[in-house]
Each structure stands twice: as C-alpha cells, then as structure tokens.
Homo-oligomer: 216 residues x 2
C-alpha cells in the first residue's frame, strides 16, 4: 500500500481514503457503510469508483467484501485487538438443530438452545453442540436427548465418534473401516453400518464431550 518516499498517486490516495473511511465508519457505527456512504466519506462521486476500490482492497486481503451483500464489509487483520474478552473459564456454545449441506455449519441453526461449557474442555477449538435424537449410539452409552460437544473438523481417525452429515441430515456415528472401506457405524445392533462415500457424507467434527440432563 505504501509507495516510495515520493508522493502517493491519486489512486493510492483514494484507495487509502476508502479503506480508512470504512474502518472509521465501522468503528463509529458498528455496522458497515454502504457504497454510497463511502462515496461521501472518501470524496468520490461515483459508486463505481468505490466499488472498484473495495474489490481491490478485498484482493489485497485488507477487507472482506461479500458480493451482493449490503453493509457486510469486514475489516481483516484485526486479530490483535479484536479478541473478545471471552472469559477464560467458560464458553457459550450454540446448539445446532438442523444442518443443511453446503451451508456453513452455523448457518440455519436454531440458536435458542445453547449453554456454557468449560473452556478447559474445548481449548481454543471451534465447537458446537448437537442434541442426540434416537438410540443408534446406545452401546457407546450415548442416549436420546444427550447433548454432544463437537469439535469442528473435516477429517477424523478410525474409531472416533463423529458428527456427520449424511444427505443433509446430521447424525452421530463411529467412524471406522471394514475391509479397508470406510463406514459410519451405529452402536446399536438394530442399525446397519453406513458406507462412507464423500458424495453424500461429510464429517462435521469429532465428539469430545457429552452432557446429559435427563436422568432416568
């Protein structure tokens, strides 16, 4: 972004002003400016110019500019200060209800169901909760109604109990192999192993914990 010691060209000045104004605006308002807001703020009279610079800034990796989304600019490289003062001891995790393929995990979930989990359990990993429905893992002592703590990851090892997406449906199974072929094994004699083919199946994460609040 910086040039030599000589003066910045006109375009550099503009792109700089755009960048700075976006940062300033977000800091002031919490939300992003629109392209037209930036016009005013950066002294440009055409939305198209601003648009061009925003795309450039995105390419440079300074911002994240989602195509088509209004007021959705994200300033990057803020890691240093942006860190939430998340209390060290405890983390609030959302509970995923339904998961749709293709969408990021958190996309559609019903957020209402969530609770705190000890930080020591999940460390710095990204995790979510999954409420068990059914008894397909009963032999692993995972019961209907249990909440599973799932550490997000897209791969796993043999023997891991994983949360997986099978044809848009989220389930919990044990990952393993039979004759070298990967399967998702239920832990219940009433159910059959499911061949793991990368087309219909996707690993969401590994189960690292379990909370049960219905004891019978």
């Amino acid at each position: 972004m910086s040039t030599n010691s000589h003066e910045a060209s006109k375009s550099e000045k503009s792109i700089d002003r755009v960048y700075n104004y976006v940062k300033y605006y977000i800091k002031e308002n919490t939300f992003s400016p629109s392209v037209r807001d930036i016009c005013k703020g950066a002294g440009l009279k055409s939305t198209s110019s601003v648009h061009t610079y925003l795309k450039k800034l995105d390419e440079m990796g300074l911002i994240e500019y989602r195509p088509g989304m209004r007021r959705a600019i994200i300033i990057k490289n803020q890691d240093d200060e942006a860190q939430d003062p998340t209390p060290a001891d405890v983390v609030k995790l959302p509970c995923i209800g339904k998961i749709t393929a293709g969408q990021p995990i958190y996309a559609h979930e019903d957020y209402s169901d969530s609770f705190y989990v000890n930080r020591s359990i999940i460390g710095s990993n990204e995790c979510f909760l999954l409420k068990v429905s059914g008894t397909s893992m009963i032999n692993a002592h995972i019961m209907d109604g249990d909440y599973l703590i799932v550490r997000k990851q897209s791969s796993c090892q043999e023997g891991d109990i994983v949360a997986a997406l099978i044809n848009d449906e989220a389930t919990v199974k044990r990952f393993g192999k039979m004759n070298g072929v990967p399967y998702l094994f239920p832990e219940n004699d009433m159910y059959s192993p499911i061949p793991f083919n990368t087309e219909d199946c996707r690993i969401l994460g590994k189960v690292i914990g379990l909370h049960r609040y219905s004891i019978y």
Copy 2:
C-alpha cells in the same frame, strides 16, 4: 407479555430467539443479519414477523433498528453481559472426592477438580459433582470417569438414581424396592443389590445431570 409465571408464552420464545440470534449473528459475522437471515435463524417463516419483533426490541431499548437501513442493527447494553459470562448463567460446583460420614458434604472437597455448570440445570438447589469410578451403573449408561451433577437431598423416590454413602464410601446407585424393602440397585449384572438400611446408608442427593469428557 408474560402469562403465567412458570412458562414463557410462544411469543416470548420467538422474540427471545430473534434477539439471541441477532446477537449471535453479529458476534459471528461482525455485521448484522438481514430480516431474512433472522427468519432462518429464529425459525420464523415470515419476514413480517421478524420485522415486528425487531421493532419491539427497539422499543424495549435492547437494539437499535434504523428504519430502512440494511444490516444496520446495533445491540445495546452490551456492557452488562459482554463481560463475564453473566455470573447468573453459570455456577461453579466442587467435585467431591472422598466423603466421610458425619461430616457435612462440602467439608473435604478439593476445589481443584471443579467446573462450571449452567444455572438453568440446577436452579437454586445446592449441588455438587461426583466423579464416577467403576462400571456399576453401566446399564444406565453412566460410565467410568463421568462427572455426575448431584442435587443435595436426604430423601428420594423409587427409581431415582442417587448418590449415597454406604459405610463412609460414596457410590451411585438406583434407589428402589424389592418386596417392599428398600434397596440400592447397581445397573450392572455383575453386582448385587445392596439393602438400604438407615444405619449404614445415607442419601446424599439425586443425580440430575452427567458430564462426560472422555469419549472412546
């Protein structure tokens, strides 16, 4: 807004979900969700419903909702909860290692092995944790190494899973009766029921939750 004191009405649930989802979304993405995003997140199918709730939330002073502006919701009063995990939401419970008869339960506890549990689980009751050792309750899907959340109480009902003191030793069993005589039943065919006589036995509390952090 409130109906009876015990249960939230449907509307409260929805407005709550909207509010929570907005908070969650902004935390995740930096920018606000659109009305249609909130629809998905809060499980509502009409933008108009969401719009109504957003206006209400604005009136309540919980958010700032600018008419006509896209993705420009501001969460207010973040100071309160953004800090520590609202102490009200979470409670630190001690894990009891050894318990000695006659001593109050908390007497010897070693706070080193303690962790946070959601307030919603235990309410205003006095609780403690008990780490399971052994497999005597395996048929109830309680495994070696599990942490049990025990609500302190000195009596219990038939069928309850309880923490009890038998000759100075703390164990977990299911309380029940056989031919009218009270017993403590292990949930494992390898063990025998223990007659419950008030001289050697004492109920410490009822198991109301379970945390497992060793998944195999």
